[in-house]
């Protein structure tokens, strides 16, 4: 049982990363009907911006012999990095996607992949191939709750992610921008007639999605403090799959599917081997049914199976293609 809860904690942590990134995919799709395939790399950019912000804050703090507590540095780091990364997202929208608003969807997809490559190689060109390590702001403390060991980092990651999702939900429900985003997602052709510019809403959506990706980037760096230019690719694709699984355009769906993704991934490799001595299980004499090398294969197969029965995702709904302005 403790083993089970131990894995629940791990799944929650990974689920947080996936959910935060998937939200960006899903919001942009909801509003603009395109997938921003550079989003995984925006996660990477966010992590790097977070790295520079936190390093800068640490340097300033040590120079001015200001005694800022580390948790405050982390909070400031997250806020600044989210803010700065949102501008990266808006720039991507302005330069990459806005000129293609009326172009076929494939053009936007190709552009997204290209922007991703530019961000990765741009990072390589600027910073070189060495990896950087994120300053360790929080010393790891391990709590033992009924045999389950939980680190303070994991608690922080899950709580900050949940808080951000709550803030996003409130933003979408309560502010006029959120209302305009929802309206745009349902039928954008009427939105300009309310005196609202679609371009503003598009920029806002990209900004918000990128800010969440940046938060995911920093939280990821807290848990796994080695940054490299390609760190966003795999996690980005997995979050994309989560966004599809949740239902394109659904915020709740993206968040829940992100966590579901985390759970599936963690739990497929800890399914006990039911008959260790029986053929064909005896071929892999292991305590678990699937070796961890098959993690992605099994996880994605499960998702494929879910999508076979729910092709629009868990919270998505079928709709016909809409006219574009």
């Amino acid at each position: 049982m403790t083993f089970f809860f131990q894995n629940v904690v791990n799944a929650l942590q990974w689920g947080s990363f996936y959910a935060l990134i998937a939200l960006g995919y899903s919001m942009v799709y909801g509003v603009l009907l395109l997938f921003n395939f550079a989003h995984g790399d925006i996660f990477m950019v966010g992590a790097y911006i977070g790295f520079f912000v936190v390093s800068g804050l640490l340097a300033v703090a040590s120079m001015s012999s200001l005694l800022l507590p580390n948790w405050l540095l982390l909070v400031l780091g997250i806020i600044f990095a989210m803010f700065l990364t949102s501008f990266v997202g808006m720039l991507v929208e302005r330069v990459g996607y806005r000129p293609l608003r009326a172009a076929p969807r494939a053009s936007a997809a190709i552009t997204g992949l290209m922007i991703g490559i530019i961000l990765e190689t741009g990072n390589l060109a600027l910073l070189g191939a060495r990896r950087v390590s994120f300053p360790s702001l929080i010393a790891t403390t391990t709590y033992n709750i009924g045999g389950v060991s939980i680190t303070n980092k994991k608690i922080t990651i899950v709580l900050v992610s949940l808080l951000l999702m709550l803030v996003l939900h409130q933003f979408v429900q309560r502010t006029k921008w959120g209302m305009a985003m929802r309206a745009t997602a349902f039928d954008f052709s009427v939105v300009p007639l309310m005196g609202v510019s679609i371009n503003t809403i598009a920029a806002l959506t990209f900004g918000l999605g990128s800010a969440l990706a940046a938060a995911a980037g920093i939280l990821f760096s807290v848990a796994y403090p080695v940054l490299d230019p390609y760190m966003g690719i795999t996690i980005g694709w997995k979050a994309f799959v989560a966004a599809i699984l949740g239902g394109r355009g659904s915020i709740l769906g993206a968040a829940l599917a992100g966590f579901l993704m985390g759970f599936i991934e963690i739990f497929v490799v800890v399914i006990p081997n039911p008959f260790p001595t029986m053929f064909p299980f005896s071929l892999f004499p292991a305590p678990y049914l699937f070796p961890s090398t098959l993690r992605d294969l099994v996880a994605f197969s499960i998702i494929l199976l879910i999508l076979t029965f729910k092709p629009h995702g868990l919270f998505g709904e079928a709709h016909t293609a809409r006219l574009r302005l």
């Binding site: 409130q170 209302m179 309206a183 349902f186 309310m194 005196g195 609202v196």
Partner: protein
């Protein structure tokens, strides 16, 4: 000074001339109608004036300023509101939210207001809700204010769309087939509402209609459009008795 002036507007889709040399003057308080067979270019004219298309040639003036080439959201905020032939509502948003959305540019409270419920937010929300509710009252959907639009009957949806257009406080309201697909009961109700809206808000209305009864009853002046050209313009009586209009609607044999 006319409220809305459209002068010599011509529009091509590629090689196809959809609208030719179209002129329109809307005076304050008028109800004007635009009729014509399917495909005559009626909706295209709406789209040209509201900025969804930019005319190939011609001038459009709203009061003193030219609105040709402005973006749809700029034209909307300068005083043209419209509805659509096929409903364009936002699934999963409530009736009240639809009308509230139309007040977008007038909502001035920001993030802090939205999250912490400052007095300013409460005041603004109350103000907007009051305005919205009186509009919903006017189009007779007030009791449905908190319903999600997908739950509403068709006739009510049309009226919600109208309330949304009215909430932008237009000087001229464009109605694209406001009674399309309605049963006789809904139709009479809609006509009453259009009359009441016109009377109480005192705005000018420009409407496209298929049903002769509606245009004849509501409009001061009617234009008949055939293949992108206005072939007749006049009062309902003149239009009804104009042989060219009859020909366009009923075919040539009847006339000869």
């Amino acid at each position: 000074m006319s409220l809305l002036r459209v002068e010599n507007v011509t529009h091509y889709f590629g090689g196809l001339r959809a609208v030719h040399n179209y002129n329109l003057r809307v005076e304050p308080g008028q109800i004007r109608g635009l009729i014509g067979p399917n495909g005559a270019g009626k909706t295209t004219i709406f789209n040209l004036i509201t900025g969804i298309y930019t005319p190939t040639e011609g001038e459009i003036w709203l009061e003193d300023s030219s609105i040709v080439g402005l973006r749809p959201y700029e034209i909307a905020s300068s005083g043209l509101g419209r509805t659509f032939q096929n409903l364009r509502l936002w699934r999963h948003m409530t009736v009240l939210e639809h009308v509230k959305m139309a007040h977008y540019s007038k909502i001035s409270y920001g993030l802090i207001g939205a999250f912490f419920g400052t007095p300013k937010r409460h005041r603004e929300e109350a103000e907007i809700e009051e305005k919205a509710n009186s509009l919903l009252e006017l189009v007779e959907v007030r009791p449905l204010a908190d319903q999600i639009v997908t739950n509403l009957p068709y006739g009510a949806l049309r009226r919600v769309e109208m309330a949304r257009a009215l909430a932008t406080e237009p000087k001229v309201l464009f109605l694209d087939e406001p009674t399309a697909g309605m049963n006789p009961e809904e139709l009479t109700r809609m006509m009453d509402i259009i009359r009441r809206v016109h009377g109480e808000l005192g705005l000018a209305i420009f409407l496209i209609e298929h049903r002769m009864k509606v245009v004849m009853d509501l409009c001061n002046t009617i234009q008949t459009l055939v293949f992108g050209e206005v072939i007749a313009e006049g009062t309902p009586e003149e239009t009804q008795n104009n042989p060219r209009v009859i020909e366009a609607y009923l075919g040539e044999e009847v006339v000869t």
